[in-house]
């Protein structure tokens, strides 16, 4: 196993709604990289992220973060330690203003937030324009920006993203992936799951293929993109 892994998953098993969603997977997330898990619907991608975030308790296995066992810790502890999840469907708070959404992202922090809010506004000038608007009035792409900005407010070391491109127009999707690269350049490790395998593998340093709860293949993004079986199953070429 790689020694520079900031997050390391060992033999993770998760039962979810009576179904064995994740059947013993192991993978590493190297610090500073973009890592993607690709796979079809129901392959266990979301369950994996939800378990790391602390929303679901695993049946067995360990999650190690910066050398510390964080398996089964509650979501508050996980986010405080520096792991954040941008959930599927964005899940911004529609009644709260853009600024309040951002402030909630930093809920566990007690220090001054103005620098971070300015940082997010620099990344997403559109959010600055809409600072006082209710989150629910934003477009899909803007809501995704808000969801990412909100996640960044916790000053994460790892940002996990669950299907960030879902339901967005192709042009907007490209924008989202540019954002992911930009966030990564600023030093945040990214763990991304996507059905849009093409975009995900092009963006990621490293990829894992998840099939019905197991990891069946891994390698650099470029290697997986070129792989015939990945092409056939996920890239539609």
């Amino acid at each position: 196993m790689m020694s520079n892994a900031i997050l390391s998953i060992q033999d993770l098993q998760v039962n979810y709604g009576g179904i064995e969603a994740v059947k013993g997977i192991s993978f590493d997330v190297p610090e500073g990289e973009i890592v993607t898990l690709i796979g079809a619907n129901g392959a266990g991608k979301s369950s994996t992220l939800r378990t790391i975030a602390g929303l679901v308790k695993p049946k067995s296995g360990t999650i190690t973060y910066m050398g510390e066992d964080i398996t089964g810790k509650d979501p508050t502890a996980i986010v405080t330690k520096g792991i954040t999840l941008v959930p599927e469907g964005r899940r911004i708070f529609p009644d709260l203003t853009v600024k309040e959404n951002l402030k909630l992202g930093a809920y566990t922090r007690k220090d001054d937030l103005s620098d971070d809010i300015n940082w997010v506004f620099d990344l997403f000038p559109r959010l600055k324009e809409r600072e006082w608007q209710a989150g629910g009035t934003l477009s899909g792409g803007e809501q995704q920006m808000l969801a990412v900005g909100r996640a960044l407010m916790s000053r994460p070391k790892i940002m996990m993203m669950d299907e960030p491109s879902l339901g967005l127009a192709p042009l907007v999707v490209r924008g989202i992936f540019d954002i992911i690269k930009e966030v990564n350049k600023q030093g945040v490790t990214v763990l991304l799951i996507e059905q849009n395998a093409n975009m995900a593998l092009k963006t990621a340093h490293k990829g894992y293929v998840l099939e019905t709860g197991r990891i069946t293949m891994s390698g650099s993004g470029a290697k997986l993109l070129a792989d015939e079986s990945v092409k056939a199953a996920y890239l539609g070429t």
């Binding site: 508050t76 986010v79 954040t84 708070f93 566990t108 916790s154």
Partner: protein, 291 residues
């Protein structure tokens, strides 16, 4: 004219008392989507505790103690009867709420032996006063003033503090709130604490005017407050307050006519009319008011 003023005054006062209970219903509904059937009984228990405590200690101690114990009761009910059912179907939690309601009534019956107990006269607020030549008690004036102060404070808490922001977030989305690091159980507890505190204040004002407490004393005001919350659009705090004042005034006006025996039925008829015209209640559609 004097009669009319006195009816309006007493209607506003009753409405204010309903409002203090209704806020508890509407806030709990806003956050848990639960009709907390035990809320009216918490109100009754606050009344009983006041009777027993004021018998053995001076009012400046017994009033704060009653407020604290009522808050504690609300907190414990949530922890014991609702929290274990957090992921259960909503119907199960509702049954649990009905169970708590009867438990409180039965305990009250056991403790009082079924005898109506007389509420202590609280000096100052039960003192008589003349307004526009109409004799009434200070409590009639104090109630609406108190309601307005408490509602303004509560609105400030919800709109301008970190806890309030978390309450609005939890009311919308448990899971996303957890991802922010919000401990949803703490936020839910705070909601019950606020609701119970307001019910305790309401009980002091209410029982000063209707000075006997029986185990079912909470049922009718509780039901009226619930109707007020639905009337105003359940989940909305301003809705609950305005609904309560409207119901209080209408009810008192009916009570001043020959149809006084129909006053309770009238309250529900009013609710039905509103729900037919506006199914979400007066303020139910404005999602921003949901808490």
């Amino acid at each position: 004219m004097e009669f009319f003023i006195s009816q309006i005054l007493s209607g506003i006062s009753v409405g204010g008392q309903y409002a203090l209970i209704a806020i508890g219903y509407t806030m709990v509904y806003g956050i848990l989507r639960l009709i907390n059937f035990a809320h009216g009984d918490v109100f009754m228990v606050a009344g009983l505790m006041m009777i027993y405590l004021s018998a053995s200690m001076p009012l400046y101690i017994s009033v704060p103690v009653v407020l604290i114990l009522t808050v504690l009761l609300g907190f414990l009910i949530e922890r014991a009867a609702y929290k274990p059912l957090r992921s259960a179907p909503r119907m199960s939690v509702m049954i649990s709420a009905i169970g708590v309601s009867y438990l409180l009534q039965n305990v009250a019956l056991y403790v009082t032996g079924g005898q109506p107990t007389t509420y202590p006269a609280i000096p100052f607020i039960s003192k008589p006063v003349n307004i526009f030549g109409v004799p009434t008690q200070w409590v009639t004036i104090i109630t609406p003033v108190m309601v307005i102060i408490l509602v303004v404070l509560l609105t400030m808490l919800i709109n301008h503090t970190k806890v309030g922001m978390a309450m609005r977030a939890v009311a919308k989305d448990f899971e996303a709130s957890q991802l922010m690091g919000i401990k949803i159980n703490s936020i839910i507890s705070i909601t019950f604490i606020i609701g119970s505190f307001l019910a305790a204040v309401g009980s002091i004002l209410y029982f000063t005017k209707y000075p006997t407490v029986v185990p079912t004393s909470g049922a009718m005001p509780g039901l009226k407050a619930f109707v007020a919350a639905v009337f105003g659009g359940i989940g909305s705090i301003p809705g609950a307050v305005i609904g309560a004042f409207i119901i209080g005034v209408c009810e008192t006006i009916i009570k001043g006519t020959a149809f006084t025996v129909f006053s309770d039925a009238f309250t529900f008829a009013l609710l039905i009319v509103i729900l037919v015209v506006k199914p979400t209640g007066l303020f139910g559609e404005r999602a921003t008011d949901k808490v």
